[in-house]
């Protein structure tokens, strides 16, 4: 029987079927952060459970830590960080905390350390765990109760999902990045359009991406509701596995981590690469996006009264008017960072636009490298110098920062941010803050122009 990559991954990790229709699946590797794990550890303690296999877990500090310096910015954050460290020490779990040269955003750290390989099953108390699909691994986000479950049993209860293949064929135009590709997919399938599905990305435009680009695509797949995102392993994957501290440690022998040629998916979506332009979001859901050359939608573009009301609500929150051109949207802040776009490749892409140019007067521009290792590499390559010469603030510590604003990097009420992150929800970057999602190169272009701008005008 032909199988999809997803089905091969599930089959390889099935421990047993459960009487109520779920199955138990084995978790090869589990990552924790400081804010979705405390109650899992206290659950273990209350119930008297041990950690099943401590060496299969890694904990990092990334969500609440300050990025201006290594000291936590307040007592509550310090408590979360210290609590995680204490729990890891107690249970013998690896902990990459502040000051550790391996620290950074979990989804940047894991591939950097060679902790992901094709065929693995990876869980983490964070929805963007879909990132690891870029390596042909099954990664998915879990809640805190499930974190406790993984710690205690090394397994999860699981229900096989349906499969969807999104094929992006044909070449993409110059200036179109992996971020634009996934934003186009989110726009096409819709937020929640892939709820209940594992999505495999295929086609020439995906094959052509480097590993960082593939991670950007799989990372944001959760914005369409996909609980898993996958890209078949190939030579690029193999090359990327070499030269890390953990590499070679993990290999499932005898399986090829690709979908069989004639495997059948429950749903097929196809998008032509040529139809993708650099995109920006105008609203408060990641699927509310338009090409940078276009205008914000008008009520007449929609038929149902619910859609008209949703438009009005989004525009009110975002402080925009119907039909306004994307390029007329003035920004206060430019932010480059997050597990979607803070890898060395992303920083290079932005620096390329910034080189020899200046951030517009009045725009506050910040870049937060995704990990300490990324920062060191970027500094060695001269990227820091380019960012700083252009007027960007280069943060010395890595973390999620303004992606979710759980530390002191918070946008003010009404502040408008051009952001390389993944969510433009109401209040995401601060209460009343207005987020426009785009690629790091587009953030750089907006920072220079002072308003949303077409990166293709800056080449």
């Amino acid at each position: 029987m032909s199988r999809t990559l997803y089905d091969k991954l599930v089959d390889a990790h099935k421990v047993c079927d459960l009487p109520d229709g779920d199955m138990l699946i084995y978790v090869d590797f589990h990552i924790m952060n400081e804010y979705t794990s405390p109650q899992a550890f206290s659950g273990l303690d209350t119930k008297g459970f041990n950690v099943w296999r401590p060496e299969a877990h890694l904990a990092v500090v990334d969500h609440v830590n300050a990025t201006r310096g290594s000291a936590p910015h307040d007592a509550a954050s310090k408590l979360l960080i210290d609590n995680l460290q204490a729990n890891c020490t107690k249970h013998g779990i690896a902990f990459y905390g502040l000051g550790d040269p391996r620290q950074g955003i979990e989804h940047v750290v894991v591939p950097e350390q060679g902790l992901v390989a094709p065929g693995m099953l990876i869980a983490c108390g964070d929805s963007h765990t879909t990132t690891y699909g870029a390596y042909g691994a099954l990664g998915f986000g879990i809640g805190t109760s499930e974190v406790e479950h993984v710690l205690a049993t090394q397994t999860l209860r699981y229900k096989r999902m349906q499969t969807m293949r999104v094929t992006i064929d044909g070449d993409t135009a110059l200036g179109v990045t992996a971020k634009d590709i996934i934003m186009k997919v989110v726009q096409t399938v819709g937020a929640g359009g892939a709820n209940g599905f594992a999505v495999e990305f295929a086609g020439a435009a995906i094959r052509g991406l480097d590993m960082a680009g593939r991670m950007t695509v799989c990372n944001m797949a959760v914005e369409l509701g996909a609980r898993a995102a996958l890209i078949a392993a190939d030579e690029k994957t193999k090359t990327a596995l070499q030269g890390h501290s953990h590499s070679g440690q993990f290999a499932f022998n005898g399986e090829s981590w690709i979908s069989d040629q004639d495997a059948i998916f429950n749903q097929e979506v196809s998008i032509s690469g040529a139809d993708i332009e650099p995109l920006i979001t105008w609203g408060t859901s990641p699927d509310q996006s338009i090409p940078i050359t276009a205008n914000v939608p008008c009520a007449v573009d929609y038929i149902s009264s619910e859609a008209k009301a949703a438009l009005a609500r989004s525009l009110r929150y975002m402080g925009l008017s119907e039909g306004q051109s994307a390029r007329s949207i003035q920004i206060d802040t430019a932010f480059i960072g997050s597990c979607t776009n803070s890898r060395i490749e992303d920083l290079r892409e932005a620096a390329n636009i910034l080189d020899g140019r200046q951030v517009a007067a009045g725009v506050e521009a910040i870049v937060v490298p995704g990990s300490a290792m990324t920062r060191i590499k970027a500094e060695a390559e001269g990227l820091r110098a380019i960012f700083e010469a252009a007027g960007f603030e280069w943060r010395p510590e890595a973390g999620c920062s303004m992606c979710l604003a759980m530390n002191d990097d918070i946008a003010m009420d009404g502040e408008r941010v051009a952001s390389s992150t993944n969510r433009n929800f109401e209040g995401r970057q601060g209460r009343g803050a207005r987020t426009h999602l785009m690629s790091p190169a587009m953030v750089a272009a907006a920072a220079i122009a002072g308003h949303l701008a077409d990166v293709r005008d800056f080449k």
Binding site: H57, E146, N195, N253, A310
Partner: protein
């Protein structure tokens, strides 16, 4: 550990919350997440919708108005619970007294989190959801009931079926601890591990 009490029927006043894509940042704003316990999250649930910048109740939010101040069921828009994996969203809703959300579809992680905490998420057709939105908008505050066993919702004279996978249904009715249940399969887990070669057992460097 003792089994929790069995719940077969959920009854109460429902509040209409028709917005689509209500994400977990809206359900539980991040300032409430800086905590190491599960307690005290009731105030955080829908905080930016419930309260204005000065901390006053916002009259334009449904749960701030009678009879919906007593609502224990929400009728929600598409893709409710999308976004971050934070289980705090579900803890907060439970602490606010919400026992069920009825909608056409939920984000995956939210769905699983809900089940672990006894929050029922019956999935209905768009037509049923629209009817329930209307029914629950009536200020007389008629109760609706959700029968988990027969997978039926009753609102006034109307009954409609809902979808819920077997494992979630069983979990909600029995209210047991999943971790405890799984440890009964420890032998199977050990057998699975025994079949892994050394390369397949990751060991993270400290």
């Amino acid at each position: 550990m003792k089994d929790k009490q069995m719940t077969k029927t959920i009854m109460g006043i429902a509040a209409p919350l028709p917005l689509a894509n209500v994400d977990t940042d809206v359900i539980m704003p991040k300032r409430f997440l800086i905590t190491i316990t599960r307690e005290g999250l009731g105030d955080g649930a829908f905080a930016d919708l419930r309260f204005d910048n000065a901390g006053q109740l916002r009259p334009d939010f449904i749960l701030n108005n009678a009879p919906w101040t007593r609502a224990s069921i929400l009728i929600v828009g598409d893709n409710f619970g999308c976004g971050s994996s934070r289980e705090h969203a579900v803890w907060g809703m439970r602490q606010l007294g919400i026992n069920a959300c009825i909608g056409t579809g939920f984000a995956g992680i939210f769905y699983d989190n809900a089940r672990k905490n006894g929050l029922a998420l019956p999935i209905v057709s768009p037509a049923t959801r629209d009817f329930l939105l209307q029914f629950s908008s009536d200020a007389r505050g008629h109760e609706i009931s959700i029968d988990l066993e027969s997978r039926m919702i009753t609102a006034g004279d109307i009954s409609a079926s809902f979808e819920m996978d077997d494992a979630t249904q069983t979990g909600l009715i029995r209210g047991r601890d999943d971790t405890l249940d799984t440890l009964e399969h420890a032998g199977a887990i050990r057998d699975y591990e025994a079949g892994l070669n050394k390369e397949m057992r990751i060991s993270v460097l400290k």
